[in-house]
């Protein structure tokens, strides 16, 4: 599958409209990726300026969601698209909702980081498992957006297959943090914040998987939500 899929309309204006929607989704995806990167870096380095920028980017993400949604509705009303174009527009409406959700979670991570970090030393405890979880979910989102950019569904099942690793790491983080709470009850508040942060990362993995499901629908016209990973792989082969 290649870009020519959306380049076959008699109306050049219609082509331009679809191309514009596609570009805006990629822009929105880029901003959300940047938001997560900043939020995670703020957490690992203690640089709270990055956390502040991640929080500020939220309004840009919200505005892009509203704009793209409006554009999709206008195209649906004016062009009455069918087949791939219709599926693309409906998939885009769902994809930007996932992206907005991911942006919210990045904002959440940035806010928790500010709470956790000592403003004088810029330090807090290190959590290597969280850094690894963050790398995993950032990779999943990046690869999902790459599929949308390249219009090629090839690697989708390898993205969704990573979610079980994310879930496993989340469970492990949860176990370690509950042990720490039992050992030093005075740290309960901080530990609860770290758990919220881990939970936000785990949710980003879930939403990246939802995004993949919308991409499958867009390209193949098949609703693969609520399938297991094995069922999804069978469906795509």
């Amino acid at each position: 599958m290649d870009n020519s899929k959306i380049g076959h309309h008699i109306s050049g204006q219609f082509n331009k409209e679809l191309e514009d929607v596609r570009n805006k989704v990629l822009t929105m995806g880029g901003v959300v990726e940047h938001q997560i990167k900043l939020a995670v870096l703020a957490f690992t380095t203690g640089d709270l300026e990055m956390a502040e920028i991640a929080i500020k980017l939220a309004s840009e993400v919200d505005q892009l969601e509203v704009d793209i949604d409006k554009e999709c509705m206008q195209i649906l009303a004016m062009r009455q698209p069918a087949a791939f174009d219709l599926r693309m527009l409906i998939a885009v409406i769902k994809i930007i909702d996932e992206l907005e959700g991911i942006g919210d979670l990045a904002e959440r991570i940035a806010k928790i980081t500010i709470q956790l970090t000592n403003p004088k030393s810029g330090k807090h405890d290190q959590y290597f498992e969280l850094e690894h979880m963050a790398q995993l979910v950032q990779g999943m989102l990046h690869d999902a957006l790459d599929i949308f950019a390249r219009m090629d569904l090839a690697d989708i099942a390898s993205i969704t297959s990573l979610d079980k690793n994310v879930d496993r790491e989340y469970s492990s983080v949860l176990r370690q943090l509950s042990l720490k709470m039992m050992e030093s009850p005075n740290n309960v508040h901080r530990m609860l914040d770290v758990i919220s942060l881990a939970r936000a990362l785990e949710r980003i993995g879930d939403l990246a998987c939802n995004l993949c499901e919308h991409l499958v629908y867009m390209f193949k016209g098949e609703d693969v939500r609520h399938l297991t990973q094995a069922e999804l792989e069978r469906k795509l082969n």
Copy 2:
């Protein structure tokens, strides 16, 4: 605004299709409401059979989501609707996504309840604040579905205004539970489960508010996501 809004098409078949979608959304909403009710009752009474039924209903909710989504896409492709009909179909696609999310959270509450409850005595600690939170969010969802059923937007801002109460109760529950953890560190695991349950209730409130935003879009064609409660109220007056 009344039911006649979707009764003005020359094609009787088209009317029937829209009416069918509407009825299925109400059915789905009913199943999800039932799921929450069972999950919450299981928690308050310790009757685990109810929790099991709430979990089993999840597949019914998933199937309804897939079916309604497919029906909306078929109508979009075949009927090329405009104005209110187009907005209703797109709003429905978003509303069933929120309902499915709420169903997931109800399932989560049921599963946590099973973990928390002593299978012999059917007992666990009482958490009156949680019961009150549960009542609040159940009311919000019920009233939002009622607006969809009656096709009358009147009370929408009074539903979304309740979300700050839900958030306040959630914060209060969180404070109490962290105190309990500090006092008896051996209970950390159970307390973390109760926090997850409270968090699920808080999220149901959020998703009920999202549902309200989709209803405003459907009836008024205005995108009110990302507005504050005060901005929303100004917009609706």
